[in-house]
């Protein structure tokens, strides 16, 4: 335990690696078992195979997975308590009643309030495995700042993952990719939340996935009987938990990206769990590919930060982008270097002149000295320890890129199309992956990377969230599948969080993330309980009156609905109230963006409407399908106990004293400790302006309650009292209704714009290869063959022909010459005479020639 004394953050590393160990164990054992299946007929193989669980799907793997995530949960909660002990919550006086944290009912059942010795302020990190550790007393920084300076309270450590370059880090800035962790208040709370909900869902799944423990399972949708695969479910779950926890503790963008992809792969495996169904595998593909579209943006952001700053580490990037309140000597910064704001300058050559609307953004050296801060600065792009710059638009683009990744992961507009289809997976998957954790990762990153976003970027973020929350809520009004309602609800609530963060309501957005995780997981598990009890019936039109048959489920689901509606004193109230109030403040200070308040307000009403519509359709009224009703039963204890626990948390998790004060949430005050300085720096003016105009807290709260009440009223009127007929209401607005029923035609649009053209281009490329390249090669080949034949013809006719002609003519000559040998004596005599005469003539001629000389 000495390791944990020196490096308490290692607790989190161990807690993250335990599910990975479980995954590896399950994978290996599963592989061995599959290999052994062939040998189960023979004697010794049969006994060994039985040891490994035999042909029946085993349960041991599931228990191992659950135990491992339970262990991580214990470690996570322990870590949270230790962390809060070391860096206690410091209340900031905002005009509200402050209170010590010791009075609070802590939000964990296992909380150990044992005395934990406060550590001395160690200076240097102990050498060892290359880990460093910062410990700062939180109070030291608190003086003199409003809501800032606590972001240094953290446990950190890192190891290099890939180092490329000759130079050791000190001689020249090397480029290093690292894996590291940084535990601050937000990470500690998120970690505890993720592990806790994951443990409960594991336990729920032990019961829900029961039918997979049979040797053969009938799949009614795919009309096939297949082997049960109980442990494979938990295999994917374990890998998913590891990836998600790795994401939560990550201290750099690269590690987040690695986890990003891994959770996407696990989601793929889990959505496509019932892979015999074509719809399930298609949904899994859709999820992964849509996420990859977002990942392209993420990679773009990674590339820009890597090239401009040479690092992926969050803290290093923040420090280089946004100056602190004072420089390394403690002297205040000169004008132009607004603390927490991006420093803009106009760059000419390697000189940068600080200017308010400059076209570039400066990267500040790691150790800021005031004597470096002149109005005109010399840049050195190759040494990241010195000033450098990046065009402002490029910085905005980088932020948009990272945000695009979040859009993909959190199913925001325009990449929301995969989440409703992801409901093909078993309900525990929907509860854990697609409501509480994986989709929350996008919001988490948006919150974490807040200081990297320029104001323009944040505006885009806000509008994205606003559009998403409205569109998704409208679709949720008309769907009939109980899980789809919750899926669209998730998209909508994530939109709320994104909108809040984009408008600077950082704590509100992340508080909603935490409360939403609890009540959405609760709602999904309840729906799972309903589906399980109704024997895999998911259509609400076939349900009704189930509260008599499934009272615990009905009760806990009601708690969940009340929480999401923002009923006072429920956890959702704290977060929703805070969000609406902050948005009202934002819109008051910036009236041009009134839509950013109206949409969420209206949607709050719509949310209540469709949630209670769902509850009423499922649990009240007369049963619409007697077959379903008669066979419905309450779920076993292994499934209902997590429901009850989650219901308690949905009520209490964000509570604070006094109980009627929406601003008093203890959880919010913990989150406030992690709020980046940039949030306050960039958005303090909003509070100033808004405070002077209206009391946005009370007005916002009242408006939120009004909207919620309206929504619930409509739901009661239409579905409980049945005073208004929903079908008639739909008939009044046929085109709108059709638009909503077809999910705003996004799927059709993407199919026409992207999928079909891609397949067409693919066909062109394939045909180009065959018809253009290969055909020209074949033509060249035939041309060469033709040339060869031509050459062969020349050989045969011309060259050989010449040789033959010569041969023939010689033979002809010979033949004609042989005619001289006629056999006639007269001929020979004539020849002799003629020859003698010729010789004589020749001799006379040559003699006369010689005489003439």
């Amino acid at each position: 335990m000495g390791l944990f004394d020196k490096n308490p953050g290692m607790l989190y590393v161990v807690a993250t690696l335990i599910p990975l160990a479980s995954f590896i164990a399950l994978l290996t054992l599963g592989g061995v078992k599959n290999l052994g299946r062939r040998y189960r007929e023979t004697g010794w193989g049969q006994s060994l195979f039985w040891l490994l669980g035999g042909d029946e799907p085993g349960r041991a793997g599931a228990y191992l997975a659950t135990a491992s995530i339970g262990a991580s949960c214990v470690l996570g909660i322990t870590g949270l308590v230790m962390f809060l002990g070391q860096f206690p919550v410091v209340k900031h006086d905002h005009g509200h009643a402050s209170h010590g944290h010791a009075d609070h009912k802590t939000h964990d059942d296992h909380g150990k309030k044992d005395a934990h010795e406060k550590k001395d302020d160690h200076g240097k990190a102990p050498a060892g495995h290359g880990h460093e550790q910062e410990e700062k007393k939180a109070s030291a920084k608190a003086a003199g700042h409003e809501g800032t300076g606590h972001a240094d309270a953290a446990w950190t450590g890192k190891v290099p993952f890939a180092v490329i370059g000759r130079m050791a880090k000190d001689s020249r800035p090397g480029l290093v990719m690292e894996l590291g962790y940084r535990i601050d208040h937000l990470a500690a709370v998120m970690f505890a939340m993720v592990t806790f909900i994951a443990t409960l869902i594991h336990i729920f799944a032990l019961g829900y996935m029961n039918e997979e423990t049979q040797r053969m399972v009938d799949d009614h949708q795919a009309h096939v009987t297949r082997r049960g695969r109980y442990e494979r479910f938990f295999l994917f779950f374990s890998l998913f938990c590891f990836s998600m926890l790795n994401l939560v503790i990550a201290d750099n963008l690269f590690q987040v990206f690695v986890s990003w992809e891994l959770v996407g792969a696990c989601s793929f495996g889990l959505i496509g769990f019932y892979y015999e169904r074509h719809s399930a595998s298609t949904a899994a593909n859709k999820a992964f590919i849509t996420n990859r579209v977002g990942d392209v943006g993420f990679i773009l952001g990674l590339m820009i930060f890597w090239s401009a700053a040479g690092t992926f580490n969050f803290q290093e990037l923040f420090a280089r982008l946004r100056p602190p309140t004072a420089d390394a000597h403690g002297d205040p910064l000169p004008a132009g270097f607004l603390p927490g704001h991006i420093v803009r300058a106009n760059v000419a050559g390697n000189q940068a002149t600080v200017a308010e609307n400059g076209s570039s953004a400066l990267f500040i050296p790691e150790h800021l000295h005031s004597h470096d801060l002149k109005p005109v600065i010399t840049l050195d792009p190759n040494d990241k320890r010195d000033f450098s710059s990046v065009p402002y638009w490029l910085l905005t683009l980088a932020g948009m890129g990272v945000f695009l990744g979040c859009v993909g992961k959190s199913a925001q507009f325009p990449l929301q199309v995969w989440l409703p289809d992801a409901m093909e997976g078993p309900t525990p998957v929907s509860a854990l992956v697609h409501s509480a954790t994986m989709v929350a990762a996008g919001v988490y990153l948006t919150g974490r990377a807040f200081p990297l976003f320029t104001p323009e970027c944040r505006l885009a973020i806000a509008y994205t969230g606003a559009i998403t929350l409205f569109v998704a809520a409208t679709i949720a009004m008309v769907v009939h599948d109980i899980k789809k309602v919750l899926a669209y609800s998730t998209v909508s609530q994530l939109g709320y969080m994104i909108l809040a963060i984009g408008c600077g309501a950082w704590v509100a957005g992340l508080l909603h993330l935490l409360t939403h995780a609890f009540f959405k997981a609760l709602l999904f598990l309840c729906s799972g309980s309903v589906i399980h009890g109704c024997h895999h019936e998911q259509d609400m039109r076939k349900m009704g009156g189930l509260r008599l048959k499934m009272p615990i489920t009905a009760g806990t689901m009601l708690v969940g609905c009340l929480a999401i509606a923002g009923t006072p004193t429920f956890s959702g109230w704290y977060s929703k109230d805070m969000m609406i109030a902050e948005l009202l403040a934002y819109v008051t200070a910036a009236p041009g963006h009134i839509l950013l308040f109206l949409l969420p307000l209206v949607t709050a009403g719509i949310t209540c409407f469709y949630m209670f519509r769902m509850w009423f359709l499922t649990f009240t009224g007369t049963p619409r399908d007697h077959h379903v009703y008669d066979h419905a039963h309450e779920s076993p204890r292994v499934m209902t106990v997590p429901l009850v626990i989650l219901a308690c948390f949905s009520y209490f998790v964000a509570s604070g004293l006094p109980i009627w004060d929406p601003e008093a949430s203890y959880l919010a005050s913990i989150l406030k400790m992690s709020e980046p300085a940039a949030v306050h720096a960039e958005h303090a003016w909003i509070h100033e302006v808004a405070h002077n105009k209206i009391d946005y807290h009370s007005i916002g709260g009242m408006l939120a309650l009004l909207a919620a009440g309206t929504g619930v009223a409509f739901a009661i009127v239409m579905y409980l009292r049945k005073a208004l007929d929903p079908a008639e209401a739909a008939a009044q607005f046929p085109r709108v209704h059709r638009l909503l029923e077809n999910k705003w035609y996004f799927d059709e649009l993407y199919s026409a714009l992207i999928c079909r053209p891609s397949l067409a281009v693919a066909g062109w490329c394939r045909n180009f290869d065959t018809n253009v390249i290969d055909r020209s090669i074949d033509r060249i080949a035939s041309a060469v063959l033709g040339l060869a034949r031509f050459g062969g013809a020349i050989d045969k006719h011309v060259v050989d022909g010449t040789v033959n002609v010569v041969g023939n003519s010689v033979r002809g000559l010979g033949r004609s010459l042989s005619a001289v040998q006629s056999g006639h004596l007269r001929g020979y005599v004539l020849g002799i005479v003629l020859g003698a005469m010729a010789l004589f003539a020749l001799a006379t001629y040559f003699v006369s020639l010689a005489a003439a000389k």
Partner: protein, 622 residues
């Protein structure tokens, strides 16, 4: 003195050929014996390669550390430094007591993994072998894949003797290519690879094997001809300024002796004959030095080049720097010839159409070797030959090169999406993945730190792709053995009868897709990150291509493994032999993905970074 490294590297290259010779004496009917002897041959070669690997790590350990420089990264690590040191050290003079005379260099360590001996002195062709961080991983990959492919070849039934002998000859050719540092020797091994491959595809292949074999052969031979032209072009350049002055002196002395003088007189009057002492060489290291000098000349630094050269004949050097080799036309022409020659092997669009046919028709183990090793030879050739000898052209043509890399990535992905033959789809995915290699090599930007990432990413991608594509072709072979077709539209539901195979396939295909934690991610990530500094447009397109890759891989997995199909429910899962092939590839994929630094980057980098630094110095980078 026993030159262990010469013997080690020679053994590494020729042990497979030796076993091929042994096979001559094994009767053709003893199929099992033939296979086992071949397997033993590949296993012995694998063992030797591991011994050489340990020797290479020793070399790295012995690198003198410099201030501020990471261990193993000192200048001594670079191949050129080792070669130069080997040449200098071979002239150490020992006194009567056997110790080195003061002032002469310290004796050459026996195992610096660089070895040369004269072969054809008339043409200055040497038997020159050497290993550095670029060739070592490729050699290990080759020996491992040959071993696994031999296990996969157990199903070959006809003409087993011929198959095994050709297989072993192919292995010799591949390893020889990676080890050769003499261009002529390299070319010989390059050609040695062609013929066995032709027969292996043409005799043991699928229905259209003759067409595929001859297409492969002629295509590659065309490339080889281009390389040959470049080879000759380099040879006919007088490079005496880039070799040790002692060598020039020795040549002058030789000319004097030939002209009738005695040895002693010739030595005293060697300067008289120095004018004619032309040095022509195939030595890649020397040619590299000449190439870098050419780039400096073309950048206008001729005087600096002359001032820094070790030769004493400065006036003559000035004349010699006007040779065609040092002109821009020659540099570009030679680079293009070399690049096209190697690009045909990589393969780069539009010279890639031999690949789908060759892969589809070749038997499974040959496809594994083709994709796993032969494609890497193209990349290796570009890195070892084209870039060091013609850097000016490489720098000038960097953007078109990168563009071709990106075209490969995108075009390969699109073409893969449209395929209905499983093997052809995997072939096109190979085309796509090799595009990352070309892109990573080409991004010669003004910031050499980022080019280092690109180069290392390209090298890593070569190894990772070797592992994953060999795995993918093997997996296709497994199902082809059972179903006897490769039509993607007629598979379905293979996960149910063959869960182990299905799980292995998913992991290998996800490695090809570039999932973090598996080997395919590292190379792609490094290359993409490096490309941004060079050209943002190309980088964005490359990043967007991950969507396409995910699309075709997942769609294929869905079509083949998911769903239901009662026709295949009796298929047996993987046999022991198949598991022995598949699991090591999977283990390697995971290890390289999770611990890239430890398993590959740490010992590969010193050489790759050395190459990058030697080249980027020429453009003003540090």
């Amino acid at each position: 003195m026993l030159e262990t490294d010469l013997w080690q590297m020679t053994a590494l290259t020729f042990v497979p050929a030796l076993f091929a010779l042994i096979l001559v004496f094994v009767p053709a009917t003893a199929k099992e014996a033939l296979r086992w002897v071949t397997l033993l041959g590949t296993a012995v070669t694998l063992a030797i390669s591991l011994v050489v690997f340990v020797g290479y790590l020793d070399v790295l350990e012995g690198v003198r550390s410099e201030r501020g420089v990471l261990p193993w990264h000192g200048k001594d690590a670079h191949l050129e430094a080792r070669v130069d040191y080997a040449l200098a050290g071979s002239e150490v003079q020992t006194g009567p007591d056997g110790k080195a005379l003061p002032g002469s260099l310290r004796p050459q360590p026996a195992s610096d993994l660089v070895a040369r001996s004269a072969w054809i002195p008339r043409f200055n062709i040497e038997y020159f072998l050497g290993i550095d961080g670029i060739s070592m991983p490729l050699v290990l990959l080759t020996t491992l894949l040959c071993f696994l492919s031999m296990i996969a070849s157990w199903g070959i039934e006809k003409h087993v003797k011929g198959y095994c002998m050709l297989f072993l000859l192919l292995e010799t050719g591949m390893i020889g290519c990676f080890l050769a540092l003499d261009f002529f020797l390299f070319y010989i091994f390059w050609e040695v690879m062609l013929l066995p491959m032709y027969f292996l595809i043409g005799v043991w292949g699928g229905p259209r094997r003759e067409y595929a074999a001859i297409k492969f052969f002629l295509y590659t031979l065309l490339g080889s001809v281009f390389i040959l032209i470049a080879l000759l072009g380099f040879y006919f350049t007088d490079v005496r300024d880039f070799v040790r002055p002692e060598m020039v002196k020795a040549k002058a002395v030789e000319i004097g002796v030939r002209q009738g003088l005695s040895a002693g007189d010739a030595e005293k009057q060697w300067e008289k004959f120095a004018k004619d002492a032309n040095v022509h060489t195939f030595d890649l290291v020397t040619l590299g030095k000449a190439g870098r000098a050419a780039m400096r000349v073309l950048n206008g630094e001729t005087d600096k080049v002359i001032a820094e050269a070790p030769s004493t004949d400065k006036a003559g050097m000035k004349e010699r720097l006007k040779q065609p080799f040092f002109t821009s036309f020659f540099q570009v022409a030679m680079f293009l010839l070399l690049f096209i020659g190697f690009a045909i092997k990589v393969p780069v669009f539009p010279f890639h159409t031999w690949l789908p046919d060759a892969h589809v028709e070749a038997p499974t183990p040959i496809s594994m070797l083709l994709a796993g090793v032969l494609l890497k030879l193209g990349g290796y050739g570009i890195l070892r030959i084209a870039y060091p000898i013609c850097p000016w052209a490489a720098y000038t043509l960097a953007w078109p090169l990168a563009l071709f890399g990106v075209i490969n990535i995108v075009y390969g992905a699109f073409a893969a999406m449209a395929q209905t033959d499983f093997k052809k789809l995997v072939a096109y995915s190979s085309v796509s993945h090799m595009g990352y290699v070309i892109l990573g090599i080409a991004v010669w930007s003004a910031r050499p730190q980022y080019w280092e990432w690109g180069m290392n990413g390209a090298m890593f991608q070569m190894i990772a792709h070797g592992v994953t594509s060999a795995g993918m072709f093997f997996l296709v072979g497994v199902i082809y053995d059972r179903a006897h077709h490769r039509d993607l539209n007629n598979f379905r539901g293979l996960m149910e009868p063959m869960p182990f195979y299905g799980g292995l396939s998913f992991l290998i295909f996800f490695a090809a897709l570039g999932l973090p934690g598996l080997c395919g991610f590292i190379g792609e990530a490094f290359v993409v990150l490096a490309a941004w500094t060079y050209s943002p447009v190309l980088a964005v397109i490359t990043a967007a291509a991950v969507i396409l890759t995910a699309a075709y891989v997942l769609w294929t997995l869905q079509r083949v493994y998911l769903g239901t199909n009662p026709a295949y429910k009796d298929f047996p899962d993987m046999s022991v032999r198949e598991i022995i092939i598949g699991v090591p590839l999977l283990v390697l994929a995971v290890l390289l993905g999770v611990f890239p630094q430890y398993f590959l980057l740490s010992w590969m980098q010193p050489s790759v970074n050395g190459l990058v630094e030697s080249l980027s110095k020429l453009t003003g980078g540090q």
